[in-house]
């Protein structure tokens, strides 16, 4: 894994059944693992956005996967970036035992150090939320596990936004519409 690069692949698709299956088979054929996956409606109505991270040997592999994804009929646009091009974030939730937290004493220093949001406090459990890069959410997990114990832990897939000024999907769609309807080949 050490000499592989993490690529973030962003995909806009129609909100159709089975799109994820079409995407994952392209990864499967090349024996690439999906590290993280996040899917949600995009800013444009009826269009979904997938953010996928995967380790690949080199850029040509990322380029080939993106082209193969891009050519699926239900996909509007796919592209790839490395971490340098992106502002990205993950979310993590941590459930702790209230009793153990009380035993531990003050957690103010943890909350300040990690910029934790407390989402819920009950007699039994306390739920923390931390947003950040993998290393940050993992760092908190390790510290909590060591000092208090973590009952449940979950981390979201990455979401990302490009730093550069790139073509917006709406522009791409407008351009395609302007180029007009395809004359059928046969």
């Amino acid at each position: 894994m050490s000499n592989k690069t993490l690529y973030t692949i962003t995909i806009f698709s129609e909100n159709a059944v089975g799109v994820l299956n079409q995407i994952t088979t392209i990864f499967t054929r090349r024996q690439l693992n999906i590290e993280t996956l996040s899917v949600s409606p995009s800013a444009l109505e009826g269009i979904h956005k997938f953010t996928i991270t995967t380790f690949a040997e080199d850029e040509s592999v990322a380029k080939k996967i993106v082209r193969q994804i891009d050519k699926r009929v239900d996909i509007l646009k796919a592209f790839y970036n490395t971490d340098d091009d992106l502002v990205y974030q993950e979310l993590a939730l941590y459930k702790l035992s209230t009793e153990k937290v009380m035993e531990h004493g003050s957690v103010e220093y943890l909350i300040r150090k990690y910029n934790i949001r407390v989402l819920e406090v009950t007699e039994d459990n306390i739920v923390f939320l931390k947003a950040g890069h993998y290393e940050e959410t993992q760092g908190l997990f390790e510290e909590l596990a060591e000092k208090i114990g973590v009952l449940q832990f979950v981390r979201s897939g990455r979401i990302a936004i490009t730093k550069s000024k790139i073509e917006r999907l709406s522009d791409i769609l407008a351009e395609r519409e302007a180029l007009g309807h395809c004359e059928q080949q046969l």
């Binding site: 088979t25 509007l76 180029l179 004359e183 046969l186």
Partner: protein, 574 residues
Amino acid sequence: MKEEQSNSIVSGSEALIRSLVAEGVDTMFGYPGGAIMPVFDALYDHRDKVKHVLVRHEQAAVHAAQGYARVSQKVGVALVTSGPGATNTITGLTDAMMDSTPLVVISGQVASSLLGSDAFQEADVIGITQPVTKWAYQVRRVEDIPWAISRAFYIARSGRPGPVVIDIAKDAQVNKCEFKYEKTTFLRSYYPVPHPDKEKIAEAAKIINEAKRPFALVGQGVVLGKAETELKLFLEKSGIPFASTLLGLSAMNSDHPLNTGMLGMHGNIGPNINTNSCDVLIAIGMRFDDRVTGNLNSYAKQAKIIHFDIDPGEIDKNVKTTVKVLGNAKTTLSMITELINSNNHNDWLNKFREYDKIEYDKVIKQELFPENGGQIKMGEVVHKVTEATGNKAICVNDVGQHQMISSRYFKFTQSRSLVTSGGLGTMGFGLPAAIGAKYGAPDRTVCVFVGDGGLQMTMHEFGTILETGVDVKIILLNNNYLGMVRQWQELFFEERYSETHLKNPDFIKVADAYNIAGRIVTERAELDDAIQEMLNHKGSFLLEVVVETKGMVYPMVPAGGSVTDVMVGKGEKV
């Protein structure tokens, strides 16, 4: 946008058939079953408009639709039932995906209320077919049928063509809707024909004009894009020698002065070796398959590479290009022809002809005109058949030695004359594809070359011939071996013939049981007469020729070898 309106309320099945008629479908191939019965029932009322060919296995329905599409420029249509009916289409769908054949395969599906419950004859057809189709869609509501069919045909035939599956739940076939049909001409998520980039074309033209030893590779993209004329003008103006991929073979006449033959593992020596001598390689509608390139690390490293393709996914996939020219070959070729200088490259062309002499002496002469008697060679049979048809027939073949031999030695004088399973290499493809090809080109003679192995994979299609009376000329080159595998065992597995010898039935008797005329030939002297008998016979005919048991296909670039590593015999290199 064309619109056909009818106020009548119809069943989903009726809407389906009307949609197919609106797309110009007059022939389809299929097999009924429980979950598609309403459609077959509706078809009964439209027998005058839509001819349904009842095959004997769903795999054959798809191969027949492929054969039909490949020769006719139309979309091939297959109609099958749910579950096993649909899963039997997978091989044909994958084959069509690999070879960019436009198909619409319609499968029945269990009622929408039963979906996901492991109902009788339920299969996850969309999940199974998505990886091997251009598009797969399940229809659950009757009102979506015309819409889905309209999209299916648009997607199958536009851009780089391919197979589409429409899976229709049984209740959608039965329920009623208002029939209204609109042809699809645009989908915002789908950009089938990239706009040609004038700068790239100018850049490519400059490279071509400066080239000393340019070489063009012609693929099926030329045929699919109906760009045969534009290709001819481009090649003749530039004087560039060319060779074809297996699927590009009939795009240009076999005897065109610039034609240097076929590329690939069993292609001609000149085009393979000269790939590594040219200074500019111009790939047109081809995808640098590994059977063409051999080892990529030693493939055309010295050359500038210009790649014409409609599919951006093919650019730089296998071979890194210098200039990419995206778009339909018909458009891009005519644009570039305007920018190139009239030229000839006769000295360079002679470099190919020198290798042709070597190939003739070492391989072709013995294969086509054996002098010292002995067993009949596959090549001489193919040569005699193509000559007897005036080089005007459609050549269909199965997969294996006879496929390479018939593709090498059959001569083509018009486009869409070779139907072969190129990318997937599907044994059993030949016979059903030939049946489909005859429906697609009823006025042409269809000759299908099969081996004794492949024939038995879809020999049940003798039943379709019996049922329909379709006229295909079946030439069985029988060596009682899985010949190509045997060849590899001889060359690379120390002659350990593991499971490649076949104990075969009396094929003529089998054909006779299906009322198909036949003749077996074991002696060379009978061959001409038997071929004439076959061609003169009204209706299908099985000509079984007992050929050399241990025949070999040469030249050969061993798998993973370089295109310059051409073998012309066992242990004998050029």
